[in-house]
């Protein structure tokens, strides 16, 4: 079990937990939390591969992780704004109550 | 003089010399932490007394003058009192979070001191790559602590305070960081030590090249300290703990030692952020004039810190509290745009390096002044002067 494998496994577990949360929780914000966890798992993968990969010089891992973080921040901001707006409009934050998009 | 300047460093090394090499890194860390934990709380204690006395003077009352000479031992009395007081946890409160909150509030500023150079070679932990980042990072942790405190108390006022605190801290963090970044842009380093050393070059034979003496530095310093006051929940931005509105905000439900911890954390935060401001704009431990170089560097640092404290006390004694919407508007509609403009000016300063100093100055000042005036006019237009009715 090399350190790379360990980190990848950690990332996989983190991703799975986040996914489970995103799939099973009701409260929209908790779903969002799950999504954040998944993003972070991806980041961990990027950095692990950068650290233990054959050529860490190009710094691609950290740069991608940086982008991911930035995008995650934007995603969180907009997502939360949406949740707040929806709550203000429909008085609920339960994911399956928000079904205006259904056919 | 040199020895006096480096006295603490030499002392530390002397102590380390007595220890086996294996221990030395740990020992040095312990010593530094010990020093920090000794100095700043003491400073806090003194500041409380000084603040109370100064405020008293401003309000035509003596202030504390009973305990010790001129009441300067007042802090000891208060400390003992708060330590011996009963620690009350509301039944409705969320016990764990309620317990953790004060720690989360106190620990970050203490960590922040680690990267703060209080004197030549006097920094506990020099992060050459990410010093400033570390500082800002630990700074942000406070928000969570404040929130935890306010939420866990299950008290309407605490919750209001927490909400206010979150909104305020989030909003003022941005101009704070943006104005700090200008310095990083032009010094090309994130290490606070390097940032200080970059300001050591001499203008006109005597005036040191503090960042304060550049247009972006001046504007940056003003923006920075404004945001800093807000970050430290100091008056006039002390809405989260506005006694007259929401009792004591997020630490309404705290008593005894935890309350003292909040107090401590607040002041430590204030010290830390002022120290950062000093490091960024006021030349850190550098003397203002080159011919004053014989004064030990750490004296300079703490002198500046003290001066800033006096300024903050003065502000608190002078300015009335803002309203929440005013607070937000100020952050988002004035500080943020101005700090962006300031970033631009810093860029200009970088690219006009070949110009004569005066020209650079005028250019930068102009670029800053124009939007500032426009904003001022805009505000004046949007908010007609209120008429207050005084009791005659």
């Amino acid at each position: 079990m090399s350190p790379l494998h360990l980190h990848l496994l950690l990332a996989a577990a983190l991703f799975a937990i986040g996914l489970a949360g995103a799939l099973t929780r009701r409260h929209a914000i908790l779903v969002l939390i799950g999504i954040e966890l998944m993003l972070n798992a991806a980041n961990l993968n990027l950095l692990a591969f950068w650290r233990y990969g054959p050529n860490p010089e190009p710094l691609n891992g950290p740069i991608f992780a940086l982008f991911t973080i930035a995008i995650a921040a934007a995603e969180a901001a907009v997502g939360l704004a949406l949740i707040i707006a929806i709550h203000r409009r429909y008085r609920t934050t339960r994911v399956e109550d928000i079904r205006r998009l259904r056919g | 003089m040199e020895s006096l300047d480096q006295i603490f460093v030499t002392a530390k090394h002397a102590v380390l010399g007595l220890l086996p090499a294996a221990w030395q890194p740990w020992a040095s860390a312990v010593i530094s932490v010990g020093a920090i934990l000794a100095v700043f709380p003491l400073l806090f204690a003194l500041t409380t007394v000084v603040e109370r006395k100064a405020l008293g003077r401003m309000q035509n009352r003596p202030g504390p003058n009973r305990v010790g000479p001129f009441g300067f031992l007042q802090f000891a009395a208060d400390g003992i009192k708060s330590l011996t007081k009963e620690d009350i946890v509301p039944r409705a409160a969320d016990p764990i979070v309620h317990f953790l909150a004060p720690l989360v509030v106190v620990i970050p500023p203490v960590l922040a001191f680690a990267v703060l150079p209080v004197g030549r070679h006097m920094v506990a932990l020099d992060l050459p790559e990410t010093g400033l980042l570390f500082f800002l990072m630990v700074g942000t942790a406070v928000e969570l602590g404040v929130f935890m405190a306010g939420w866990s108390s299950h008290n309407k006022y605490s919750l209001l305070g927490a909400m206010r605190a979150l909104a305020q801290l989030l909003s003022y963090e941005i101009p704070l960081i943006l104005s700090a970044i200008t310095v990083v842009m032009l010094s090309g380093s994130l290490s606070l030590v390097t940032l200080v050393e970059r300001q050591a070059e001499v203008h006109g034979g005597f005036l040191l090249g503090w960042n304060l003496f550049t247009p972006w530095g001046l504007a940056g310093a003003l923006l920075f300290f404004t945001a800093a006051v807000a970050e430290a929940n100091r008056s006039p931005f002390d809405l989260p703990e506005a006694e007259s509105e929401i009792v004591a905000g997020y630490f309404t439900e705290y008593s005894g030692f935890k309350f003292a911890l909040f107090f401590l954390g607040e002041y430590l935060g204030l010290f830390a952020i002022s120290g950062l401001g000093i490091t960024l704009f006021l030349g850190g431990w550098l003397p203002p004039f080159s011919f004053l170089g014989w004064v030990p560097s750490w004296i300079w640092f703490f002198a500046k810190l003290g001066a800033l404290m006096m300024v903050f006390i003065w502000l608190r004694g002078t300015l009335p509290r803002l309203r929440m919407d005013q607070l937000m508007q100020f952050a988002w509609q004035f500080l943020l745009p101005m700090s962006l403009v300031n970033l631009f000016v810093a860029g200009l300063w970088h690219f006009t390096a070949s110009w004569p100093l005066l020209a650079r100055w005028l250019l930068g000042a102009a670029v800053l002044a124009v939007p500032w005036m426009l904003y001022a006019r805009g505000f004046a237009a949007r908010h007609p002067r209120r008429t207050y009715r005084y009791v005659t």
Partner: protein
């Protein structure tokens, strides 16, 4: 000629810029927007005139008449997609036609849309359309052509639905969009297939283009499983696109409804340019279509083309006889004329078809603008029964309209329409594929003359039959000006389209190659078609002799004589109803199937709901199957409903989606790794 073709992009760029600026202008600036559009268009017209002149000089100098400028568009891995401009007689003529007609129509619209407060948007869309259309014409790559093709469709959608507050307009826009999409799918498939076969979408790429001899030689042998030549299959697919765009049977239904749009739009898009795009496309890919077999064996694609054209021409003309809306009549005549062009290309080769396209663009635009002027003058009265007596009130409009009418109905000698149509008739007469299309063409010609006469009589002759018509006034010069110019052009063009001075035909043929039976002057045929059109006019005059004295409520004389036939025609052969029925049933079935397929994915509870709901919906729909819905739009309705049934499966629960998504990705990854493992 260093400016062209390298900088041919300038021509569409001008209207595009106008559109861009126009989109930024506000209602207060709508007059400026109009001026801007006209100016840009006029400039583009000058440029294309230069391009045209350059082509003519090169062609007369005997140089290669095809000049292209290709460049890489984007690169994805090993695949380099390159596009380019082409400047050959075909595109040059089209450019010139579009820009000139466009300029005149823009000018006209300034007057026509003067009191519409969204006129700035109108001109923005119009310029956008012009840019797309020009791009389509000058594209040297089927890909670029397709892109512009879709853009043109979008512009047409926007413009048909310009008065989207009218439900009819909105419905018409949707209908046009959907219907043309059906054809575009075929075009897309054809394009992909062509790329698969030849590996390039460039038409001319000094030797490597897909329309050039080597490639064609490579394609020549290949057959599909059904024994049909690959090139034939591809060109049939492309023909689908042309059918959709050019309103050929069976996809012609959208064109008459498109008349809901402002009249200048009908003139520019649905008479002169866009609907001609299909014909243009067929002319462009003619070498491909003409590939399989040799001249003596009949070419499948071309035969189909000819027959589609013939059927369209006849049915369009027949329908036009029984319409009362002035614009609808013109629309159906457009359909039938487009059929003529298709026939021309199929039988007589691209030159013949294109010639009719160019002349038709002129006089049909003239007719539509005339109709617009009439509508404008009579306060948006479009029912010809309500009109009448405009001869005296709108003299200029009447005169120009008469010119257009005579050109359309092919009055001999002095009208371009006669000659170009005549060339088609000639080629059909000599067509190896049989004589029937020839007969159809003649009959259509007669019908054309007939219904145009009917319209003239209804609109202009006798006294006014309604207060609106009585209060009619001549339109402002900004509107009549274009009419006059177009009339002059219509007459002038006849000089270069006669088989005696077949300059235009030669010019076009030079790059496009000859057809099966290029029309050459044949006195008998010439005489025949001339007399037939005159006969049609005479017949019309006789049948409708009593209309001028009549009242608005009178039934059409023809209707009195053959009521049943007339009803069928008036209801446009019930095509819409047919589609409504079939499309409804079909979408029902599809939706129900899809829903039942989706069922097993999602959790049991709301499956039951989905099943019940879809079953219920299906039941209800099947119940009102009994009632035949009156319009195609119910077909769209049905599409939406069945979509609703379909979407029971996606019930708006993000987590359901996420579940399915994750499962899919996981399965993919699993397969991927396994494949790697092996």
């Amino acid at each position: 000629m260093d400016l062209f073709p390298r900088h041919l992009w300038l021509i569409p760029a001008l209207p595009l810029a106008a559109a861009g600026i126009g989109s930024l202008l506000g209602p207060s600036r709508r007059r400026l927007a109009g001026m801007l559009a006209v100016a840009a268009m006029a400039l583009a017209a000058l440029l294309s005139l230069a391009a045209f002149a350059g082509t003519v000089t090169r062609e007369t100098a005997g140089e290669a008449s095809v000049a292209v400028h290709n460049f890489g568009w984007f690169e994805a891995g090993s695949l380099l997609v390159s596009i380019g401009w082409i400047l050959d007689p075909l595109s040059a003529a089209m450019l010139l036609m579009i820009t000139t007609v466009g300029t005149l129509i823009f000018l006209f619209s300034i007057g026509y849309m003067a009191d519409d407060e969204r006129a700035h948007r109108f001109f923005t869309f119009l310029s956008f359309f012009a840019a797309a259309m020009l791009g389509l014409v000058m594209a040297n790559s089927l890909l670029l052509l397709f892109v512009c093709w879709e853009l043109v469709g979008l512009a047409s959608y926007l413009l048909i639905g310009f008065w989207f507050t009218r439900p009819a307009a909105a419905a018409a826009a949707r209908k046009a969009f959907l219907t043309t999409r059906i054809g575009d799918l075929g075009l897309l498939l054809g394009m992909l297939w062509l790329y698969a076969e030849t590996g390039t979408l460039l038409f001319f790429d000094d030797g490597r283009g897909c329309l050039e001899s080597d490639m064609l030689a490579g394609l020549a042998g290949r057959l599909t499983a059904s024994g049909l030549g690959v090139s034939a299959a591809i060109s049939l697919l492309i023909l689908c696109g042309a059918i959709g765009k050019s309103g050929q049977v069976p996809l012609h239904v959208w064109l008459p409804d498109a008349m809901e749009g402002p009249t200048p739009v009908s003139a520019l898009i649905h008479a002169a340019t866009m609907v001609a795009a299909g014909v243009f496309l067929m002319a462009r890919v003619y070498p491909l279509a003409a590939l399989d077999g040799t001249a003596d064996v009949l070419r499948v694609a071309l035969t189909v083309l000819t027959w589609v054209g013939a059927i369209t021409a006849l049915s369009g003309a027949l329908t036009a006889v029984a319409q009362y809306d002035i614009k609808r009549i013109l629309a159906y005549s457009t359909v039938s004329q487009l059929g003529f062009m298709m026939m021309g290309i199929g039988a007589g080769g691209p030159a013949v078809g294109m010639m009719h396209l160019l002349t038709h663009a002129g006089f049909k635009a003239l007719l539509f603008l005339g109709a617009g002027s009439v509508i404008h003058g009579c306060h948006h009265e479009q029912d010809i029964r309500q009109l009448g007596g405009l001869r005296t009130r709108m003299r200029l409009t009447f005169a120009t309209y008469a010119v257009g009418m005579m050109a359309l109905s092919g009055v001999p000698l002095f009208f371009s329409g006669f000659w170009s149509k005549d060339a088609i008739v000639h080629s059909l007469e000599g067509w190896p594929g049989g004589k029937l299309p020839f007969v159809i063409a003649l009959g259509t010609a007669a019908l054309t003359a007939f219904y145009m006469t009917r319209q003239m009589i209804y609109v202009f002759a006798g006294p006014a039959r309604s207060p609106g018509a009585a209060a009619a006034h001549e339109s402002p010069p900004v509107m009549t000006g274009p009419l006059v110019m177009l009339a002059v052009a219509t007459i002038g063009l006849s000089a270069i389209t006669t088989p005696f001075v077949p300059w235009l035909e030669h010019f076009l043929t030079s790059s496009l190659g000859k057809g099966d039976s290029p029309g050459h002057a044949n006195w008998g045929v010439l005489l025949l078609s001339g007399t037939i059109s005159l006969a049609g006019i005479a017949l019309g005059g006789w049948v409708y002799r009593r209309v001028p004295g009549g009242r608005a409520t009178d039934r059409d004389p023809l209707g009195i004589r053959f009521p049943r036939l007339f009803d069928v025609l008036e209801r446009r052969f019930y095509v819409d109803e047919l589609y409504a029925a079939t499309v409804v049933r079909w979408t029902q079935l599809a939706g129900w199937l899809a829903a039942s397929l989706d069922r097993w994915i999602s959790s049991a509870l709301h499956d039951a709901a989905a099943l019940a709901a879809s079953a219920g919906a299906w039941l209800t729909r099947t119940l009102d199957q009994g009632v035949i819905n009156a319009t195609f739009d119910d077909g769209c309705e049905a599409a939406r409903d069945s979509g609703r049934i379909l979407s029971r499966a996606h019930d708006g629960r993000a987590q359901q989606y996420l579940r399915i998504l994750v499962v899919g990705v996981a399965v993919l990854l699993f397969l991927l790794w396994n494949l790697q493992g092996t």
